[in-house]
């Protein structure tokens, strides 16, 4: 947060500690929590948390098939995903917890309450409900989900990919209705104001931002923008020339003693032979996609081939002279 970054410098960054030490801190933190509300794992560091819908794979309201634990084999509704622990809260997975009186909610009469339990994301699979032609409800459980074309979902007011069961790509799992309509608050902007277009690129000759703003966008004092290299930098960039080993010297001497390699044109016999082999092979291809591919491939120019042909022509020209 912007207002306490200065203090962060003096705080312990437990996220960067090894796991054994993190466990120590977790145990210490749990000393002050209620007995049934201990946190069992240290939360994921911020950069490892998944926040995009596509990465998470489901949204609130989706059905999930549980693969581990007490409720294994049942289907339940997801009502919250927690990126800190990469786990979900499900509608039917709860346990009885002891709650002291100060924390009671309205109309509570007992110390024991049903409290939702976190289920690891790896312990659930995405499920979907449908009816067959007789009106009987059946469930589909997707081992893996793949995304295909994107469409604009008016319920979520955003572009979403369509989800399909991997391996059975005729089965689409539609995104569920969002649990609540997105509603405006005091900082919201009107839709018409948001869609109003006030910028259009009109000229290549006019800079899009005033000159004074550039220093705010890019750091003019960045150490990566140094104009002058120090001697140490220059040395690092231009490494010293290493002395050659005896073997290398012998190799190079041999190489220079040899006459330079000369490319020659293939004789007509060999050209015919290669041509016949290729023609044989091509005539056996029936797949139209492969033929189209080869057609495109034949039009591509290979620079190395052209270079060799040029060398041959030059060689022939010098010989004629």
């Amino acid at each position: 947060m912007s207002w306490n970054t200065a203090r962060k410098r003096f705080q312990r960054n437990v996220e960067s500690y090894p796991k054994a030490l993190r466990d120590v801190y977790l145990a210490r933190a749990n000393r002050f929590t209620l007995p049934t509300f201990e946190s069992k794992e240290w939360p994921f560091p911020k950069n490892e948390r998944k926040t995009k819908t596509e990465e998470i794979g489901f949204v609130n309201g989706d059905l999930a098939y549980i693969t581990e634990g007490e409720k294994k084999g049942t289907v339940s509704t997801i009502f919250q995903y927690s990126p800190e622990t990469d786990s979900v809260l499900l509608a039917d997975v709860t346990s009885k917890k002891l709650l002291p009186k100060p924390y009671w909610v309205e109309n509570q009469t007992s110390h024991l309450v049903d409290y939702p339990d976190y289920v690891k994301k790896s312990h659930i699979k995405l499920a979907a409900k449908d009816r067959d032609e007789n009106g009987k409800v059946y469930y589909v459980v997707a081992d893996k989900v793949i995304y295909k074309e994107k469409y604009y979902d008016d319920r979520y007011k955003r572009w979403l990919p369509r989800r399909y069961v991997k391996g059975h790509e005729s089965i689409e799992i539609p995104w569920p209705n969002p649990p609540s309509e997105p509603k405006d608050d005091y900082l919201s902007t009107k839709e018409s104001t948001v869609f109003e277009k006030s910028y259009e690129l009109q000229s290549l000759a006019k800079p899009p931002v005033p000159a004074g703003v550039l220093a705010e966008l890019r750091n003019p004092y960045s150490r990566y923008k140094k104009r002058f290299l120090t001697e140490a930098d220059a040395r690092r960039i231009n490494g010293p020339e290493m002395p050659l080993t005896d073997e290398q010297k012998i190799y190079l001497a041999k190489k220079t003693a040899q006459p330079p390699k000369v490319h020659k044109r293939l004789s007509e016999d060999i050209q015919d032979f290669i041509g016949a082999r290729i023609a044989d092979h091509l005539n056996n291809i029936e797949n139209p996609a492969m033929l189209a591919h080869l057609d495109v491939l034949s039009k591509s120019k290979i620079p190395d081939f052209q270079k060799t042909m040029k060398q041959i022509e030059e060689h022939e020209a010098t010989q004629q002279q």
Partner: protein, 301 residues
């Protein structure tokens, strides 16, 4: 009583001499005491346009100095990049400062919460994250535009090719198409050289630059070439290519026929029209502001 000498210490003379006086009160019944001032903010008048009101959510109409989480905006989302890309620099600038103001209010509330040991500031933090994300995106959008602009400056070969192509099309255009080509030319001169379509919109300080000179030369040559194409039997005076901004400027300010007449009279007079490099921009500024002044019926500055 004298202070001891030779030992370094703070002087206590005044204290000691004060102590010497007998401690005596005047008659307590005669002392008039003022009514005590209760330390509450109601006893202070604060100007309604005090600048520090900007740190409160409703300005000077604020009724409390700390909003709890139910009063904080939790359902709005940050501006998305495609939405910001549609907005002009001025709009983004305004939005940046509105966000900054809101973030300042939140920061003040969180600082206050720390002071009064109120720990429930998660809603404030979450809102601030959204606002900061929008600010980052604004920067991103501006940077994207700047990078695109800088890359466009390097695409000189493509630009020249387009200009050459346009020149050919313009010179060989039919008489019926020339009106639409002239409109295109006006858009092109702004797009490539930043020459405003209206003379009145010229900013004399910034708009007359190297780009402007390039554009002026391009446009004048274009019109001159077309004139020569339409009138193959022109006099010798007119047929040589244009040389310098003095000959080119009439083609920007007037229509082609007037410009040709002006060019003819210039060349027949035989005055030296070639300017030194250092004189070009001052000449353009002077002449253009004179023309603007003449057209508006005022005097040039």
């Amino acid at each position: 009583m004298l202070p001891s000498v030779g030992i370094r210490h703070f002087s206590r003379c005044a204290v000691r001499s004060a102590r010497l006086k007998p401690l005596r009160f005047t008659d307590l019944n005669k002392i008039n005491l003022n009514q005590p001032v209760v330390p509450t903010h109601k006893n202070f008048d604060v100007s309604p346009d005090h600048p520090l009101w900007a740190f409160f959510p409703n300005g000077n109409k604020a009724t409390s100095c700390f909003r709890d989480s139910s009063e904080i905006d939790t359902s709005s989302r940050p501006w998305a990049l495609p939405e910001l890309r549609r907005k002009s620099f001025e709009d983004l600038h305004k939005l940046w400062y509105l966000i900054l103001k809101e973030r300042n209010i939140l920061a003040r509330e969180v600082r206050l919460a720390e002071a009064i040991r109120e720990n429930n500031t998660q809603a404030h933090n979450e809102l601030d994250e959204k606002l900061a994300l929008t600010q980052k995106r604004i920067k991103q959008v501006l940077l994207e535009r700047q990078v695109a602009y800088e890359r466009a400056q390097l695409m000189t070969a493509e630009q020249e090719e387009y200009l050459r192509d346009f020149e050919e099309r313009y010179v060989n255009a039919e008489e019926s198409d020339i009106v639409s080509y002239n409109e295109k030319l006006i858009r092109l001169q702004y797009a490539f050289f930043g020459i405003e379509p209206q003379l009145d919109d010229f900013d004399m300080e910034t708009d007359i630059n190297v780009n402007f000179i390039e554009g002026l030369t391009y446009i004048a040559n274009l019109k001159h070439k077309r004139y020569l194409k339409l009138h193959p039997q022109t006099e010798e005076v007119l047929s040589t290519p244009l040389d310098g901004v003095v000959e080119a400027l009439p083609f920007l300010l007037n229509d082609t026929n007037e410009a040709i007449q002006e060019l003819k009279s210039l060349r027949e007079r035989g005055t030296e029209t070639k300017l030194d490099k250092i004189d070009v921009i001052p000449f353009l500024k002077r002449t253009i502001s004179q023309v603007i002044a003449e057209r508006n019926g005022t005097e040039a500055v």
